[in-house]
């Protein structure tokens, strides 16, 4: 994942402006234009990180095609592959790539692999209470806070004093918050920030992305990980560092260049028989998601839009 994003950065430069908010959408992205004869039911089952984005896309898509009925369930990335295999959904949004076994199960059912469509970039932010003075954390320290295995070589951290907490925070215990195991964010954070190790049992598992942010906002000693789009006024981003010298905030630019270490693609999986032409409704929805309008919605929901070249390349493979 990490490598992919870096190569993506080489492929194109993305224009990102200020630190927070205002993410610029690549002006070279194609405008979505209406085609005729699109109608039907579109079912989507999968990630809850993508839930809101799917809802907003559905709203925008229905403005173009008022005759389309879109139904969205978002209980966690793990529910996506099952729904695609059972045929209960045409789209399986996931916040992590499918695992080998999930792809195998799909292939066993259909004889071909599921099609992966990257639709947006998401940075996983580490949140702290808004008054927390901590200047930044290295990945090792994050590992020490969240993990019991310490694969990245740090040691277990229980108190803010261990991570340069000053003043009132010099003796504040750390309460870590995280996601439940059905979530793709859970798995992705574990792979990148915990080196694939295990979470500590102290990490309070929350039922939704914004539940994590709310818990941290209500707990002065709290720290938690969740998508960048879920920031509220009660919390702040903690800049992260891989080398202990340069700390980076999760901005669009830092995520695309790979400076910010915990960034990933958000993915829509579809069932596309390579021998047949793709269901036109599903195809048009994907085209909408990768268009300028669709990527503007991505920015509005707090994620980072794709550069035009990447989006066009993905669309090309779908034809």
């Amino acid at each position: 994942m990490y490598k992919k994003i870096t190569s993506l950065a080489l492929a194109s430069m993305v224009s990102a402006t200020s630190l927070f908010g205002e993410v610029q959408v690549d002006p070279d992205l194609p405008e979505y234009e209406r085609v005729s004869g699109i109608s039907g039911n579109l079912n989507s089952i999968g990630s809850d990180t993508l839930n809101n984005l799917m809802l907003l896309w559905a709203e925008g898509f229905r403005e173009v095609y008022p005759n389309v009925n879109i139904q969205i369930e978002g209980a966690g990335s793990a529910t996506g592959p099952a729904a695609l295999i059972e045929g209960t959904a045409q789209i399986g949004p996931m916040s992590r790539p499918m695992r080998g076994t999930e792809i195998e199960n799909f292939e066993a059912a259909y004889g071909y692999a599921p099609t992966q469509v990257n639709v947006a970039i998401d940075g996983i932010a580490v949140y702290a209470h808004r008054e927390n003075p901590v200047e930044g954390l290295t990945l090792q320290e994050v590992d020490g806070i969240f993990s019991s295995t310490n694969r990245l070589g740090g040691s277990t951290i229980n108190n803010w004093s261990a991570v340069r907490g000053s003043g009132d925070w010099s003796d504040m215990p750390i309460t870590p918050y995280g996601r439940n195991s059905a979530s793709g964010t859970y798995g992705f954070f574990r792979n990148v920030a915990l080196g694939g190790g295990d979470y500590r049992s102290e990490v309070a598992e929350q039922p939704g992305s914004s539940a994590v942010v709310q818990s941290v906002g209500a707990d002065r000693g709290g720290i938690g990980y969740s998508g960048v789009g879920y920031k509220t006024s009660g919390v702040r981003f903690v800049p992260l560092s891989t080398d202990g010298e340069n700390y980076y905030y999760p901005t669009a630019e830092n995520c695309v260049t790979g400076n910010y270490p915990i960034a990933r693609f958000l993915i829509l999986y579809v069932n596309r028989n390579p021998r047949e032409e793709m269901d036109s409704l599903t195809y048009e929805f994907l085209r909408f998601a990768l268009s300028k309008q669709g990527q503007e919605i991505v920015a509005r929901d707090g994620f980072f839009p794709l550069p035009a070249s990447t989006a066009n390349q993905i669309l090309e493979t779908l034809k």
Partner: protein
């Protein structure tokens, strides 16, 4: 409470054991207090969501950390005030030292150092500030005012905004500015017109395009099926080719109709986009909004009490009757109310006969022995199974097995094309899953009330020559109806509030089409639906701006409770009616 009153009034020195009577009443009082507190909290916070509050404009010091891009002026609604003690902010020593000097100069040393109070203000305009709330320290505020001309605007996207409208620009480029006497009336008029255009668009989208779509959908499915046959068989029979031509022709014709209607809607949309309102934020920055994106506005600082009530009423009505917008962050919750209602109805219809029949057999016919006792234990245990387990069962049995079978029998074309009908979660499966979940409640309640029918009544009936079934049908069931209804009421209350199992069998965060509507066959049991309980979960824990969503959560909770109360009340009224009727009879 009754015990309590009688015990204190009778004998004076507390007899042995009397103290426990006090404990029982204490328990009651505690329970009541908790219920009232919870209900009061939900009522208060739920209603405050609709109540229009004054908008304050704050002028900050230039060196305040709350300054936004050099702008020191903010307008918003104060959400809460909180205080931080000195110790807590010792980390910001430098700032404090500076302040200390200032304060000393003012001669009020000490006091200001103890605490720092700050406002949490809802400033809206998420598109501008990045989030809906900002914190302002009291010390940083130079001036606060309540400007008369500021409006609170409900927008199509990005939530509410506070601003001063400056001018309206019409399609032909002509303008009305705020200096004109007619400005405010004009603003009112264009927003109203935009609203009526929007409801026209909605009508075209839902009522007129809906039925056309349904037909196109069906025909396209048939067509795709034929294409598929052609691909696999290589060739179509003549009849099939003729069929395909007929389908293509019909679809083209329907598409023409559809495009005509869509163009009408597009034209209205365009008009709504072409009239624009230019405005200024509290800090003087300019902005503009298309009239179609400005849903409703009011002058929060000009309203008298009655006008506030009126605005609250309108907002309440729009909340309960409107459709959600912006990933459920704004707009109304009508589909969720309706979905909850229909699902509870389906559940009641399914669970009552099933439960009553089981109870009658268990109580009247089954030979009481170890087997029946085992069945009873099983039923009671069923009541203790976590609801999510029923959800998993519903997904496996109803959706995959039953739904899959129905699809392969009746909707095989659709199934082969990867668009399931009953083979995916839907309101029918959700209703049946909840019916299973509540089955033990109904069985137990029915059994209790059947066993409460006096033995004499049965024996009298049998002695008069009635058969056993006649006795049950004419005497036992009518007499135990109130008890059966009690079971149903309990089941309904539990069913309407249950969320966990529904997430697996058909609840969705957004379902634009209702399960019952004007298109044939009117009741669409296969459709997914929205549910108030799930809506609360979704808005409260999944929405990106969870802070701004909290009032919505309380308002939705209020509606959910109100819906359950209404459902229960009607069942209770029915029960009382039956009781009265029964009392009046010959027994």
């Amino acid at each position: 409470m009754e015990n309590n009153a009688s015990s204190t009034s009778t004998k004076s020195p507390a007899p042995k054991g009397e103290i426990w009577v006090w404990f029982t009443s204490l328990g009651l009082v505690l329970g009541l207090a908790m219920v009232l507190f919870l209900f009061g909290l939900i009522l208060m916070r739920g209603f405050s969501f609709f109540w229009p509050v004054p908008v304050v404009q704050l002028e900050l010091k230039e060196d305040s950390e709350s300054v936004f891009r050099g702008n020191t002026s903010f307008a918003g609604v104060i959400a809460s005030t909180q205080e931080r003690s000195l110790q807590e902010i010792a980390v910001e020593e430098e700032i404090l030292l500076e302040e200390e000097e200032e304060v000393e100069a003012d001669g009020i040393l000490g006091q200001a150092l103890q605490t720092i109070s700050e406002y949490r203000v809802f400033v809206g305009s998420r598109d501008r500030y990045g989030q809906s709330f900002r914190y302002f320290r009291h010390n940083d505020i130079l001036e606060r005012s309540f400007p008369e001309d500021i409006i609170r605007a409900e927008r199509r996207v990005e939530g509410d905004a506070f601003f001063f409208p400056q001018r309206i620009q019409f399609q032909d480029g002509s303008e009305v500015t705020r200096e004109d006497a007619i400005f405010e009336d004009e603003l009112d008029r264009v927003v109203k017109e935009a609203r009526s255009r929007r409801s026209q668009i909605n009508r075209i989208d839902r009522r007129e395009i809906g039925p056309i779509n349904l037909e196109i959908r069906q025909l396209t499915m048939d067509l795709r099926y034929l294409n598929r046959i052609e691909r696999s068989e290589g060739e179509l029979t003549e009849a099939q080719q003729a069929e395909r031509e007929r389908l293509t022709g019909r679809i083209a014709k329907l598409n023409e109709q559809f495009e005509l209607l869509r163009d009408q809607a597009d034209e209205l949309r365009e008009t709504n986009q072409s009239i624009r309102v230019f405005y200024e934020y509290a800090d003087g920055t300019n902005g503009q909004i298309a009239i179609g994106d400005l849903f409703r506005f009011y002058y929060p600082n000009r309203l008298g009490f009655l006008q506030r009530v009126q605005v609250a009423g309108i907002q309440f009505w729009e909340f309960v009757s409107g459709y959600p917008r912006e990933a459920n962050m704004s707009g109304g919750i009508f589909p969720a109310i309706f979905g909850t209602f229909v699902m509870t109805l389906i559940m009641s219809i399914a669970v009552t006969p099933f439960g009553v029949i089981t109870a009658i057999y268990l109580r009247e016919y089954a030979v009481q022995g170890p087997l029946v006792r085992a069945v009873r234990i099983a039923i009671n245990n069923l009541a203790g199974v976590p609801s999510i387990v029923f959800g998993v069962f519903g997904l496996g049995f109803f959706v995959y097995i039953m739904g899959g079978t129905i699809d392969s029998l009746f909707f095989s074309q659709a199934q082969e094309l990867g668009t399931p009908t009953f083979g995916t979660g839907g309101i029918l499966w959700a209703g049946l899953t909840l019916a299973l979940l509540n089955l033990p409640v109904v069985i137990v309640a029915t059994e209790e009330s059947i066993s409460a029918v006096p033995r004499g009544v049965r024996e009298g009936s049998l002695a008069c020559g009635a058969s056993k079934w006649q006795t049950i049908q004419r005497l036992v069931i009518p007499a135990s109806l109130p008890g059966i209804l009690t079971g149903m009421i309990l089941a309904m209350a539990r069913g309407a509030g249950e969320v966990a199992p529904l997430m697996l069998v058909g609840v969705v965060a957004l379902a634009p089409n209702l399960p019952v509507d004007g298109t044939f066959p009117f009741v669409h049991l296969e459709r997914k639906f929205m549910h108030l309980g799930f809506h609360i979960y979704d808005v409260g824990f999944q929405s990106p701006d969870s802070e701004a969503a909290i009032p919505t959560v309380f308002a939705t909770t209020l509606i959910l409770i109100a819906l359950i109360v209404v459902l229960n009340l009607s069942a209770i009224l029915l029960r009382n009616h039956i009781r009265k009727k029964h009392k009046g009879s010959a027994f």
